[in-house]
């Protein structure tokens, strides 16, 4: 596997990520791997001891991992969230918005393409896990939301 592309300063977790099932039994595991059919909310009771969550994309067209990532971030997970598998450079910007901060694609990104993808969108329409101020917030500075 290629070296993951990381957007974090801390040391990468060396432990192998275990399945959600075995994670439940291994109370010392700090890394877990979510498959598309796994429920991210099953991890919520153990967020405190988790340092790495790998979310697997067996095929790029299955988007369940985007929801899983946001759910973990919305519940306060701050450890590494790594997209692995069939992850394509054109998905990078959306994945960053959903809270992924590391990428280990089956086929490495072209570095120039990755850089262009990350730099492309000056603004965004929605609030998401990256907490970027959406366009509506810039239009109404100081407005109480809702």
């Amino acid at each position: 596997m290629v070296e993951p592309l990381r957007f974090r300063d801390d040391e990468a977790v060396a432990d192998p990520a275990v399945t959600v099932d075995s994670f439940g039994d291994q109370t010392n595991a700090a890394a877990v791997r979510l498959e598309p059919g796994d429920d991210a909310r099953d991890l919520l009771p153990c967020l405190g001891r988790l340092r790495l969550v790998e979310i697997n994309f067996p095929g790029f067209g299955d988007g369940r991992g985007y929801s899983a990532a946001r759910i973990l971030r919305e519940h306060g997970y701050t450890g590494e969230l790594r997209a692995v598998g069939d992850v394509l450079v054109d998905q990078l910007a959306a994945m960053r918005r959903c809270g992924f901060d590391a990428f280990a694609p089956d086929i490495a990104f072209d570095p120039a393409d990755a850089q262009a993808a990350l730099a492309r969108w000056a603004d965004v329409y929605q609030t998401a896990a990256d907490r970027r101020a959406p366009i509506w917030a810039k239009r109404h500075p100081g407005a109480v939301h809702g």
């Binding site: 492309r120 329409y125 609030t127 939301h145």
Partner: protein, 542 residues
Amino acid sequence: MYKYDTYDQAMVDTRVEEFRDQVRRRIDGHLTEDQFKPLRLMNGLYLQLHAYMLRVAIPYGTLSSAQMRVLGDIADRYDRGYGHFTTRQNIQYNWIKLEDTPDLLGELAKVEMHAIQTSGNCIRNISSDQFAGAAADEVTDPRPYAELLRQWSSFHPEFTTLPRKFKIAVIASKIDRAAMRLHDIGIEIVRNDAGEFGAAFYVGGGMGRTPMIGPLINGFVPLDQLITYSEACLRVYNRFGRRDNKYKARIKILVHEIGAAEYTRLVEAEFAHLLAQGIEPPLAELARISENFADMAFEVGAPGDVDRSDPDFALWLDRNTHAHKAPGYAIVTISLKPVGGIPGDASADQIRLMADLARDYSFDELRVTHAQNIVLPHVRKADLHALWTALDGAGLSTPNLDTIGDIIACPGLDYCSLANARSIPLAQKISQRFAARQEEIGELKLKISGCINACGHHHAGHIGILGVDKRGTENYQLLLGGSEAADTSLGKITGPGFDEDGIVDAIERATDLYLTRRADGERFLDTYRRLGMEPFKEAIYG
């Protein structure tokens, strides 16, 4: 109508450049077709039977005369001189070159248009009532809500790879002109007893191979929770919608399989969680958007009388105009269904003419209807005759709205790579066969799809036709009794299918029976509902 600010413009411009880069990477071989396909679909570019086809978004069916004019120019410059208005209020071009697409999108962006999310497994163009802002029967203009949802759904990072495509319609009238309950989410803006506006959510409707009428899951979502509630609906679908079988992947199957009550419970739980996430734009944003949809400066005291002495004009008036909320004004629908013509097609010249007429007679505004016609929403009654004369000179004055000649037909096997049978030649034959009798038959909505995907809404036709492949030849099934209006119902198959001529004869036998058995004031659909399928079956197969 909605005007882009610098943010909206930058988003569209950025997408053009992103797509330019994606096309470059495809042409130079960095992307395989498998990888490129979802990227081009997210920008409305299909590879169809003869060429690439580009679907351009017309958000909630509203466009300006300047935008319409550009649509005509693009037809000349990048296509073969015509465009096809679709059943989801968009326009398609059938002969686009991949290498030209970025420049074409650049032209569109200059007039605040795009092809974003007009295909792919994402939230598609939001559709709405084509009479919004003009109809006397609406509680409010639904388009500000549609625009709010458009911005929220554009490039939504969580929902770019849903199990399947996702279609939302927003209306604000009890008279449903947008087939709202046949959408993945149908939203009706309503007013409660306290006089406050809110949104009723119907989720899990749709056509396709398993047609369903969407159940009501929440009768009143407050307007300051509209986006949050929509996000909850989508997240539950993204997480739990089926992905094992593309024919079972639409949200209607999820809602049907787990039940509307369980789906609602999941949505409400997700909603409760999301309420704390600060994803809802402030009401000030809705107010800002709404300012773009303020009433036109309608002339006070505009004359209400129309000279009906020309019988052709009078017929068109009765058929193709509707009551407007402002006295002295009318809503005009231009039929794109000339006898023997291709439903929804318009030449570049016709498109530009309609743009000019909108500028001269309708406050610069046009609408596209899901029945593939064009609306001039705000016409002074005093101008109707001049408008009709101009339309008549361009083959655009066919007086057949909502009659058997006003056929919805998908492109079918003449253009579509998924088709089993041709739709257009059948539409042409039917409109010719019934041209002399359409007025006598009255309201009769006939809809044709070239395959089970039901883009022609055949389930929802008073008469529906479905093209099937019968051992390599085209065959057509007949359905009766569908409706996509407020009295939504799904049509039933009459029995064995027909060939192209056979089905035209079968329709004639059905309409003959209707003409002999109808009670006073009954439409075809009413007579069918009263008599039931049996007598029609006897007449058809006798």
